[in-house]
């Protein structure tokens, strides 16, 4: 199954829009598939693993990146791309902006969301800390995918100190 290329969809406008809640429901169900898996899977046994979720997020991030208007692709600096991710992409996907962006100016960026929507439904604090990575894998891939379309190769990981706040770490890969 392949998706058609970077067709511009401006003509379709607001004719039919999938509600944002649908993504959240679908994402939660995809993560639940992880729970349902055999806790002790043999090699190749896990159907929906963290890396599979990340891979799916990556493809979606790429596709989203392809649909961005041409003007956005003309970034002057790497930092501008990351700011774009934190503001525009995050707002489009999660209806809010990233709360903070820090960098060591040497290719590592830390993006912090104090109230990550995909973690909100889980109790806040430390109770479900162990489960949190499952809810972040897809989004890590999504960030990596969008960056990839914008010409940046990266590794994206996430960490949670206390729900629903989380940090995404983006490390630029220079070949």
């Amino acid at each position: 199954m392949r998706t058609r290329g970077a067709e511009r969809l401006l003509g379709r406008g607001g004719r039919r829009m999938a509600d944002a809640a649908l993504f959240e429901f679908l994402h939660t169900e995809m993560v639940a598939e992880l729970w349902a898996q055999d806790p002790d899977p043999g090699p190749g046994g896990q159907k929906m693993s963290l890396s599979v979720l990340e891979g799916m997020g990556f493809r979606v991030g790429q596709a989203l990146g392809e649909r961005l208007p041409r003007e956005t692709l003309a970034f002057r600096e790497e930092l501008d791309v990351l700011k774009f991710l934190c503001k525009d992409v995050w707002a489009a996907v999660f209806q809010k902006q990233m709360d903070s962006l820090r960098t060591n100016h040497q290719g590592t960026y830390v993006l912090q969301d104090n109230s990550f929507p995909l973690l909100i439904r889980m109790a806040s604090g430390l109770q479900y800390l162990e489960e949190a990575p499952k809810f972040l894998a897809f989004t890590c891939g999504l960030l990596r995918g969008t960056l990839s379309t914008l010409g940046i190769k990266s590794l994206v990981t996430a960490s949670v100190a206390a729900l629903p706040a989380c940090k995404f770490q983006v490390v630029i890969q220079r070949s």
């Binding site: 998706t3 999938a18 169900e29 799916m56 979606v60 989203l64």
Partner: protein, 151 residues
């Protein structure tokens, strides 16, 4: 001023496409994991069911619809309120059985299949089968909920 407006539209569109793209990635993954289309269809139905039993609460909270008195009313609510709310489309209702306990929903414009092309070797795949599961789960849940019209 216009740049802000463009940003808003762009955001909304991306948000809408996110679901469609994610669904496509899911179906692609399931086709890899399961050997035949039938199993993928079953899995989509099962996942849809799990979504449906939760989605119904979201729907009831946001739509303010009263209790349906018969199945025809239910069909109307599904097509004109629910599908409109979640997918931005209004399928047509046709094909009522003589007993009035069965009907068809026809989706002329299915957002799920945007950008999607099926290769030839998946002729038995019911691509949108998640929707069937969602409907099944939501309707089953409605029966179990003691739902009374809003005060």
């Amino acid at each position: 001023m216009s740049r802000q407006a463009n940003r808003g539209t762009e955001s909304k569109k991306m948000s809408s496409e996110l679901f469609t793209l994610t669904y496509g990635a899911l179906v692609t993954q399931l086709c890899k994991d399961y050997e035949n289309d039938e199993d993928v269809n079953k899995q989509l139905d099962k996942m849809g069911y799990n979504i449906g039993v939760r989605l119904i609460e979201d729907f009831l909270a946001r739509s303010n619809v009263g209790r349906c008195h018969d199945f025809r009313e239910t069909a109307d609510v599904i097509a004109k309120v629910a599908f409109k709310m979640y997918l931005g489309i209004t399928p047509s209702i046709t094909n009522w059985s003589p007993a009035g306990d069965e009907f068809s929903l026809i989706l002329e414009n299915n957002p799920l299949v945007d950008f999607v092309e099926l290769p030839d070797n998946h002729s038995s795949l019911i691509y949108s089968n998640l929707l069937c599961g969602v409907l099944r789960g939501a309707l089953e849940m409605i029966r179990k909920l003691r739902y009374t019209a809003n005060a």
